[in-house]
Structure formats: C-alpha cells, structure tokens
Subunit: 666 residues, 2 copies
C-alpha cells in the first residue's frame, strides 16, 4: 500500500501511533509467516477481481448480484484448484476479497451439505456422495427450516414415510407451512439437498432424520417431478444468495438416501436407534464458535471504515475560530469508535478461545469422553448470541458515526450490517440460545446450592455474594475479571431464586421457568460477557507482545471492561459490590483511556489488515481519499444514464401541464 | 376490515383484550370525527392504489422505485386537487398508504423549498415564486449539505459572489467537497433549488445566505449551462428518492434571487444586516418536533407487525408435550414487544407535547417575545435525538423478534428501519443536537448555582441531590417522574462539575467542554427521557379515558418508566436514591406488568389503526394470514421468472464440466 497519495490527515493520524501496527497484525494472524501468506493470497485475489471486472454489489440490482455471484464462485473455485489451496484459513483469506460481506450461492454446499454427508453418512454413503459433491456435479444445500418452523425442530412438518414394498422413502410437504424456506443456494443453484423430515415407519413417528433428496436434474438443471423450488425474493441483505423454498409432492427416494451413520431404517422398515445422538451437537457447536470469530471480523470492518473516515472528516471547531478538526478529536466520537475497536478485539479473542475449547472437547469426544459437551454447548451458544448482538449494535454505531455518508451504499456499512445481522437469528435464534445456556447455568447453580461440584469455569458461582470490590485508583485487570464474574454469579443466583419463588406460588416448573426467562436471559449474557472479559485480559497478558504494543492492548482491555461496567453499572453495583466513588473512578478512567488511545485509533484498525476490496467502502479506503471516490460512485448511478429521466416525459411533464390548465381555470 | 377470514390465533388474541381499541384510536387521532375522516381518506387512497396497480417496493429495482415514485406523486397530487384537500393532517393521512415508509421525490419541494420561499422571501419574491411553485412548474429542493460539510454550516464552501456591474450573483462550487450532496429530489426531479452559499461582497465574506438557483430548463428539463447535477446512487433505503449532487460552475443568477426577507444585498452591493436572525431557528424547531411524532409512528408500525406476527407464530412449547404456543406467550418475547409498544405511545405523546410547545412559543414570537426560543430549541433538539435513537433501536428489536422472516423485505421491517433510521442523522446529527441541548442545560445549572431563576421545566435542577426515593410496593406514578428528574438533575450537575474540574486542570473552556462531552451527551438524553416520562404520565392521567382503557394506559406508563429505571439502574441508584430492595421491586413489577399487559398487546397495536397498505408487511397483516402471503411473495421473485437461471448455462454448467475433466485427469 503506497502512501504517496494518502490523504495527509491519515498520514498524520498514522504517525501519531505509539506502536507498530504490523506487530498487532502478526498477533491477529498467528505470526509473520501466516500474515505474509494471507497477504500473498489476498493480493492474488484482488488482482484477479480487477482483471475479471467484478462489480461492486452497491451498483447492481439483485438479479445482477446473483448472476455475478455464480460467476465469481465458479471462477474462484477453479482458481482454488489451480492454486492447490486446501487449508481452511487460506481458503477463507483467498475468498474474502472476492466476496466482501457477501455469501456465495455455493456456500451451504461447502459449509453444510458436504460436512453433513461426511458426518452423518455411512461409509458406503460417503463413498458414493462425497466425491460427487467434491466435483460439484452434485451441488447441495441443507434444508431444515420451514415456512412455519425454525427454532422448534420437533415442529417441522415435512414427512419421510417408508414404503416397505418399494424400499423407498416418500418425502412430502403436507401443508403450506411445511414448505422448506430459507436454505441458502436452494432457490436456483442446488440440484440436491439434505432434507430434515419426520421419519414415519408403519404409521409411527420416529422424529427428525436427514435425507438426501435430488431436486433438479443434474444435466438439465430442471426441477424433478414432484419438486417445486424457487428463490424466496428480496431480503434485507444477502442479495447474491438464492435462499429458496421447496415443496415436495410425495417425492420418492431410495432407502439408501437416508443418512444412516447414527439412526438406521432396515429394509423391512425396522428402526435402529442411534448409540449416541449427542454427537450431532458437535458440528452445531463448531459453527457457533466460528460465528463468534465472524462477528469480530464484521465489527472490525465497520470500525475500520468509521475510524479512518473520522480521521479524515473535518467538521466543526473545538475552539471557536481555531479551525475545523477531524471529528475523531471529539470525545463523543472517540467514545463511539474506541469502544467498538475494543469490542472487535475482545470478540476476536473470544472467538479463538471458543474454537480452542471446541478443538479440545472434540478430541475428548473422539476418545469417548462426553462430559464436557454440555459445557461447550452452553458456552458456544451464549457466545454466539452475545457476540452477534454486540456486533450488530456496534456496526450501526459505526455507520451513524459517519454521519450522512454512512447511509450511502458506497460507504460499505449498510451492506456489512445487513449481511452480518442475521447472525443474531440463524444457527439458533439468540434469545433461544441464551435460554439454553441459562438451563445449564441454573443446573450449575443448583449443584452449588447442593454443595456439588461444578465445571471450573463457573466455579465463581460458589463465591459469596455479599462482598465488595477492592478496586481503587490503581486499577488491576484481575479486579475487572472478578467484577464481571461477581456480576454474572449474582445474576445467575437471583434468576435461580426467581424460579424457586415462582414455583412456591404454585406454578408448574415450565411456567416458573418462563416467568423467569427475562432474568435468565440477562444472567446468561452476563456469563458470556464475563467469559469474554477474562479471555481478552488473559490472552493479552500472556501474549508475548512488544512493550509498546502490550501497553496499548492493556489499555484496550481496560477500556473494554470498564466501559461495560459503566454501561451496566446498576448490575455491578448491586449489593454494594461497587460504591459510588468506585463507579466515578471507573467512569473518569474511561474518559482518560479515550484520550490515551485516540492517537492509536487508526493504527489499531490498520492492524486488522483489511485490503480495501474487503471493506468495499469509499469511506474506509486506506488512502483516505474519500470524496473523490464518493463522487465517482454518485456519477455512476444508473439514474444518471440519461440527463432527463424517462419519468419526466411519462409523468412529470403531463402533470405540470395539467396543473397549469387547472390553475388557469380557477 | 372483515374478520371472516382472520387467522383464529389473532381472533383469539383480540378477544382477550380488556378494553375497546377504538377508544384508544380516538385518543390517538383526536376523537371519533377525525378518526372517521382519516379512515375515509385512507380508504380512498387504498382503493386507488389498487386500481392504479402500484407495486410494492420490495419487488422493484431501485430504478423502478424512482419511476413509480414519480408516477405515484403526480397521480396523488392531482387527486389532492380534485378532492380539495388542504389540511396538513388530512394530506398526511391521504398520502400515507400511497407512500408506505417511502419518500416522494417532490417531498423536499413541499417541506423545504416552498416554506423557505414563504418564510425567507420578501413580499415581491413570494408573489413571483410561490404561485409558480404551487403549480409545480417550478419544482425545487433545498441544497444545504455539501460533500464535505453537513453539521458545520460555516464550513460550507459554495460561494455567491456579487457582481455589481451586472447586478448578479455568481454561484460557484470551488472544490469537489463544495459539491452539494444529499438534497432530496435534486438528482433528477427538481428544476430549481434554494442553495445555501457563502455571500461574498467586494471580496468580503458575509456568511451563509439562501439563493434561488434554476438548475434545469423548465420546459426541456435539461440541466442549464454551468450546472452538473445527478443522482447520488444507491443508499441503505430511500430508493424512491433521487437524493442528488450539484456542481455550479460560476452560474449567474439575478440579484433578486437572493432570499431577502432578513439579510439584504442592495443593488450597489451594500449588505443590510437582518434585524433578528434568531427567527430562522423557528422552522428547524418545527421540523424537529414533527420528527418526534414521525419516530413514534415508525416504531408503532414495526411493533404492530411484530406483535401481530407473534400472536400468530407458533413455535416451541412452554410445557413440554402440551403443544406449541404463540411466541407472544414467552416472557422474553413479551419484554421485547411490550416495551416497544409502551415506547411508541410515549414518543407519540412526546411528539404532540413538543408540537404544542412549538405552537405556543411561535405565537409568542409573532408578538415579539423571544425568551422561550432557547428552551424550545433545546427541548426539540434533544427530543428529536432521543426519540430517533429509541425508535431505531426499537425497530430492529421488533424485526429480530420475528426471527428469520423479519429479514424478508416482505416483512416490511427492513424497509421501515432503513427509511426511519436517517432521522438520527438528518435535521441535526443526534450527538451534535444533544450537545446543543447540553449547552442550554449547563447554562441553567450555572444559573441555579448562582441562585438565579431557571425556566420552570428544569426547575428540578434546584432540588437537593442527596435524597432518597420513597418508592414502595404501591408504586405512585408521581414518584416515577420524580425519579427521572432526579436522575437528569444529578447527571446535569455532575457534567457541569466535570467541566469545572477540567478547567481547574488548566484546559481552555472549549477543551474542557469537549473533555466532558460524553457526560454532557448522556445528561442531555436523561433530560429528554425525563420530559417524555412526564409528558406520557401527565397526558394519560389527565385524559378523560374510559376506566378500562385508563387502567391499561396507566400500566403502559408504568412499564415505560419502570423499564427505563431497570435498564439504567446505576444512573438512578447513584447517591443512594434507590436502594437494592426498591430496584428489585421495580424489576419484579416489570415482569408483573408484562403478564398483565400481554392479553392487550394485539389490541394496543390495533389501536394505531394502520391499514395493511401502510404497514406494507406480509407479517403484520390485520388478518394474520402470513404464510400464504409470504409464499406468494416468494413465488413472484424475479429470479423465478425462468426455472433454470441463465447463470446456470453461462457459468455453472461449464464449471462442472471443467471440474469433471480436471478430476478425471488426477
Ligand atoms: C439470512 C438467513 C439465512 C438462513 N439460512 C438457512 C439455511 O441455509 N438453512 C436453513 O434451514 N435455515 C436457514 N435460515 C433460517 C434460520 O435458521 C431461522 O430463521 C432460525 O432458526 C430462527 O428460527 P425462526 O425464523 O423460526 O424464528 P422463531 O423461532 O419463529 O422466532 C420468532 C421469535 O420467537 C422467539 N422464540 C421462539 N422460540 C422461543 C422459545 N422457546 N423461547 C423464547 N422465545 C422463543 C424468538 O426469540 C423470536 O423472537 C436462514 C435465516 C436467515 C435470516
Ligand atoms: C437520507 C438523508 C437525506 C438527507 N436529505 C438532505 C436534504 O434534503 N438536504 C440537505 O441539505 N441535506 C440532506 N441530508 C444531509 C444531512 O443533513 C447530513 O448528513 C446531516 O446534517 C449530518 O451531517 P454530516 O453528514 O456532515 O455528518 P458529520 O457532521 O460529518 O458527522 C460525522 C460524525 O462527526 C460527529 N460530529 C460532527 N460535528 C461534531 C461536533 N461539533 N461535536 C461532536 N461530534 C461531532 C457526529 O456526531 C458524527 O458522529 C440528508 C441525509 C440523509 C442521510
């Protein structure tokens, strides 16, 4: 990235930094080697995107976006073969600039269809399907959600009835609400899908199972008989993706198309139960852990854009008459941005921590030890919810921090928001997930109350609640971890108490649970928040960072933790844990940190090392030449293709003539 | 609205109501007569939209949206003449179903161009321009914002240099950042605009003045010589609107085109100062007061959709095995929705209160009394900011409360969000506005500290801070108002203190201000919040409502106020104002209110009386038949126009063939 034409304001902002952003980039991307490789791959992708003439989605209609997505996808996958890329991180990095905050219509094939075949297929099924899928001749998606049901799996209505005579399953959509709805790539792209359906054997319901259902002819791509399939239409975002609907009118598939690694249906229609169905949870947990990392990246993009723009955007004076300043000089603007920078780093660390937990527990599972699975599940559920909500709120903060121009598609921010916000909904709706985690936490609390053992990372539940923080002028990071765990512990204990008090009023357990669920939700989030604070602080403290970087990262940890206390001060102060003086100290320390971190704001976002193409933003450009870019974008508007728009001749002129004639009659 | 085909779940939800929603509708629309008239006009509009075959924007490209907007606008304005509509409320109601969460490209002509001519034009100017504008032969917009400046007016770069010889102004765009950018209707629709430009007389800068600049030929609609004008391209929302850019290359206009009601430039180039330039603030204040009402309506739409859908959406069981329930039965869902319902009512009342304040103060101003102008300005600024932020957050809460389907454009929610959220930015960026209000509040605080008088509605600044709330089991609404005013008073006092302490460190006043600005911002919002709580409670208490309705509205007031205390409990508790027991009482009362209000949730949103066309939502339909509607929407997707999309032949098939050939070589 040459600095020769960089906006002088940005040059100035960069020279203020007290640390070398490259060192931080290494921290984020696991060292110089991997960073180099990442840049190498992304530079190839960037160069080729230009050669191919791919257009920004901000200039395309939805239909054009879909068509370009197929073009991009097929191009990219060819290149991946040619470049021999295999490592998931390298694949991710290579694709990132080609699909900036976009999803490929082949995405579900890679992330769900193929993994499901591999995990839930028998050896024979794997041998048959996996090679076909890897060649993309069989292109699939994962069809779980229906028009009428997402969250509650047992409510799905699609049926798979076994016909002993023909040894086939009859897959059927009995009602309109049973139509599959939402699966990515289902509308126009896929020719197969894994369908979740209720297994019916001899009239008896055996619950949800997965079936491979061909939906389009592999040669002609025409829908097969009995199959009605299509795109679901325009959405908030995801314009490039053909999320689809699917109705199956008694479509027959061979018995062998039920994925039978766990449950089985024998030829004669006998059901064989799975030995252990908990294993199925494993992959959900992985995806959620990955989402946490994704939310960090989504927020990091938004705050990179807003921070660079704020260093370039001159607006208003601080000292009247002394000239305009970059808006980053305003404390309120620093607050908006630095809090989100801290959050992006915290979530990034939490994402890694939850992936590490997944890897550790997976290894245990492989060797048959399932004890930690519930913990992992509880943790990944709430982290996914906590991080996606924080991100969604944060992205919009960043967008609005850009004033009017943040509203332009050219800013990149509306697209990032619309693309990332569904992370609050898919792979487990956030509230539902938090309540699942709460169930685990309440069990732990009950165990504590009964003097039983609990997993180590909720051991703070055992601590007394009537204590006071020792926090004083010299803030110690350990005290901040303690504060978060105290708060979570208290909230979990109180929510558990509320369930009891509702039971004592005569409510059934399920009702008492529901009447306590808002408290449970909040307690669950406090638990997630505490995990993030601990992970962030411990990672920074234990990382071998250069002193100049270590000091900045420590400030960022502090800001992250203190700002949360400030925001939820009532939850922290309850029971006298913090007194007013301590709270004031915290608040004023937040302001000191804003001032201290401000000179490093641009360096902190530069360190994310997003190429311009990934940000896809006229405001977030590395070179800061935002106005020329915005104006060029404006000039290319399709409405500018003619000087006088057709609508003038068709409607406006006749209307003016009419108004004149009416007026003249008066 | 016939109930014959209404979804039985909604019928059930409606029968649970303990009050008659029509009574509440009367409350909202000022009585039965006006409600009847509103319905009459909206029904005409609805019928004619259907006859005209206007399409939902959720099915159009941006270009189609613009073209349809011109068609709709010209049709509507013709009908307005034919129907003889004049009253602003009636005009609003008639247009609402035709432009559901959309802006007309003629919008700025009505809301800014014409009013500016009327307010800032001399009698001669009015006589010349107003009739032309009323006939739409002259169609204008208001061009203030530039690419480089929005907030800081004095930073605008466009110049208007007087040429004594020709008695003309030369309007010029000296730099790229001086380009006008954002004005609604500027891109393709308007042929004139009021341009804000820096007046230069004999080389001296006289500050910002307004000029009428013709930009397109009134007959041919071609841009005039020296004018470069166009649409700015795609935005988050506002697809129907041609927000535009404008560059003026030394364009000459006659001296008479400067709006000279206040400041004047004589023929010889002498500048005549205005007698009173505070009057100009009046109209800004009006628009902000109107925005408050608009935010209430935006939020009301979103929560109507989400509440009706939640009564229809069955998902998950509360008691296992007892069957699925509507999601409205979950406490967490009730919390999401009822808090937003309360907020929509509170903001609606606050909007009326701030309009009433405007009307009162305007009358004073007409008679020369300007004392209350600063108060009005401070109040309208923070209310605009507070209400638009609350609304933006609330709409997204409602959207996510609809799960995946909330992400469909067909839900109407993304469009409502994207259309309403810029209210946080335009007509004064929210943070900037809050800080303006803070300036007024700090002045008041200083006055209090010096024992001087302050306006009555900040008289609470005089109250002692070291008091405790008397709130107990029997919550009294007055105690809630007191609590909010106590909190605001304390925060204002503390922010003022912070400025002093920064000054004592040796900072300049302006720097001390900036270093206190985050606290000032929060104090300002607390002031706005207190105003809303008082307005809501006082209005409900003093309205002559039927007992059944009064009791529900009182609960809603209570929920609104208590939920805010719960959310910001630290700010309320500080200094011991509330103790832990009181805070627990408040929290548990919130849960009781959710349960108490739940049966009335649907009736409370029905009372907003939005016709389906205004909601423009498949999820918010009055009849609750959401799934059929969603499926029909999906089927009409443009991607479904062919069974096999072109992209398959162009890219996907060749790619699969290639992959096969590569694989066979391995
Ligand atoms: C962009 C996008 C892509 C998607 N891709 C796919 C895909 O590829 N394949 C696929 O199968 N699906 C996909 N989905 C669907 C997605 O998985 C579902 O939307 C998600 O599971 C949420 O379910 P729902 O929509 O039924 O929400 P609902 O469960 O109906 O939620 C509605 C409301 O009810 C509340 N609620 C529901 N149950 C409970 C409970 N037990 N307790 C408390 N509150 C409750 C929720 O909190 C929420 O507020 C996608 C969705 C989106 C938006
Ligand atoms: C949908 C839409 C329609 C519009 N229509 C029109 C129109 O018809 N006509 C027209 O003229 N304009 C229009 N605008 C422009 C709009 O008026 C401006 O965007 C608005 O005034 C904000 O100014 P800005 O964009 O320059 O933001 P900026 O002022 O650049 O704000 C950027 C950031 O800097 C911060 N900041 C700026 N100054 C200060 C300060 N003094 N103290 C602390 N923080 C500060 C802000 O808080 C914000 O976070 C429209 C904008 C939108 C989005």
């Amino acid at each position: 990235m040459s600095t020769s034409t960089v906006n002088p304001e940005l040059v100035k902002a960069r020279t203020q930094a007290t640390f070398d952003p490259l060192q931080l980039t290494y921290f984020l991307y696991d060292g110089p080697e991997k960073t180099k490789r990442k840049r190498y791959l992304q530079n190839i992708a960037i160069k080729e995107c230009e050669e191919q003439g791919f257009k920004r989605s901000a200039e395309l209609t939805r239909e054009e976006q879909y068509e370009q997505a197929i073009r991009k996808t097929t191009y990219t996958y060819k290149r991946i073969v040619e470049l021999g890329l295999k490592d998931p991180v390298e694949l991710y990095m290579f694709k990132e600039p080609i699909f900036p905050s976009e999803s490929s219509p082949f995405g579900l094939h890679e992330s769900m269809f193929l993994p499901t075949l591999q995990k839930q297929g028998t050896d024979t099924q794997r041998q048959k399907w996996v090679p076909l899928a890897k060649q993309y001749g069989v292109l699939g998606t994962y069809a779980q959600t229906e028009l009428g049901h997402g969250t509650f799996l047992r409510g799905l209505e699609t049926t798979a009835t076994y016909d002993v005579k023909t040894k086939e399953f009859i897959i059927n959509t009995p009602t309109i609400t049973a139509s599959k709805f939402w699966p990515g790539g289902l509308g126009k792209t896929s020719n197969h899908c894994v369908v979740m359906a209720k297994l019916i054997l001899a009239g008896k319901d055996y619950g949800m199972q997965s079936f491979i259902v061909p939906i389009r002819d592999v040669q002609t791509h025409q829908p097969l008989p009995g199959v009605t399939v299509g795109d679901i239409g325009q959405k908030f975002g995801y314009g490039a993706m053909d999320n689809g609907f699917l109705r199956l009118d008694n479509v027959r598939i061979p018995r062998e198309n039920m994925l039978m690694r766990y449950a089985q249906v024998l030829e004669d229609g006998t059901f064989v139960s799975p030995k252990n169905d908990k294993l199925v949870y494993g992959s959900m947990t992985l995806i959620r852990a990955q989402i946490v990392g994704g939310t960090a990246r989504g927020l990091a993009k938004a705050v990179t854009i807003a921070t660079r723009y704020s260093a370039v955007r001159k607006q208003s004076e601080i000292v009247p008459g002394a000239g305009e300043v970059a808006v980053l000089e305003f404390q309120t603007q620093q607050h908006k941005l630095l809090v989100q920078i801290a959050s992006a780093y915290a979530l990034s660390v939490a994402g890694r921590a939850s992936l590490a937990a997944y890897t550790r527990v997976s290894a245990q599972i492989e060797s048959g030890a399932l004890e930690e699975l519930p913990i992992l599940h509880a943790l990944s559920a709430v982290l996914k919810a906590f991080s996606s909500w924080e991100m969604a709120y944060g992205i919009e903060q960043c967008r609005m921090a850009c004033g009017g121009h943040g509203y332009m598609l050219a800013s990149g921010l509306p697209k990032i928001y619309a693309h990332e916000v569904p992370a609050c909904t898919y792979e487990g709706e956030n509230v539902v997930l938090c309540l699942q985690t709460a169930r685990f936490l309440v069990k732990c609390q009950d165990a504590v109350n009964n003097g039983e053992q609990v997993p180590s990372f909720v051991s703070y539940l055992k601590k007394p609640k009537n204590v006071q923080s020792q926090l004083s002028d010299k803030i110690d990071l350990k005290q901040l971890i303690e504060a978060y765990e105290h708060r979570a512990g208290r909230m979990i204990a109180e929510a558990t108490e509320r369930i009891k008090s509702q039971l004592s009023k005569g409510l059934k357990p399920a009702e008492a649970w529901n009447e306590s669920s808002q408290m449970l939700l909040e307690a669950s989030l406090a638990f997630g928040h505490a995990f993030v604070v601990r992970a962030f602080i411990e990672t920074v403290v234990s990382a071998k960072l250069e002193p100049s970087l270590a000091s900045v990262m420590t400030q960022l940890c502090e800001l992250y933790a203190l700002n949360g206390i400030n925001k939820y001060s009532g939850q922290f102060a309850k029971g006298g844990y913090f007194n007013d003086r301590q709270l004031e100290l915290i608040e004023s320390r937040v302001y000191d940190l804003l001032a201290a971190l401000k000179p490093n704001a641009v360096a902190l976002v530069d360190a994310f090392d997003f190429p311009d193409l990934v940000l896809d933003s006229d405001l977030g450009r590395y070179d800061g030449n935002v106005y020329e870019a915005l104006m060029k974008y404006a000039e290319r508007s399709k409405l500018n293709e003619s000087e006088v728009h057709e609508a003038f001749y068709k409607y406006q002129k006749p209307f003016v003539d009419y108004m004149k004639s009416v007026q003249s009659k008066l």
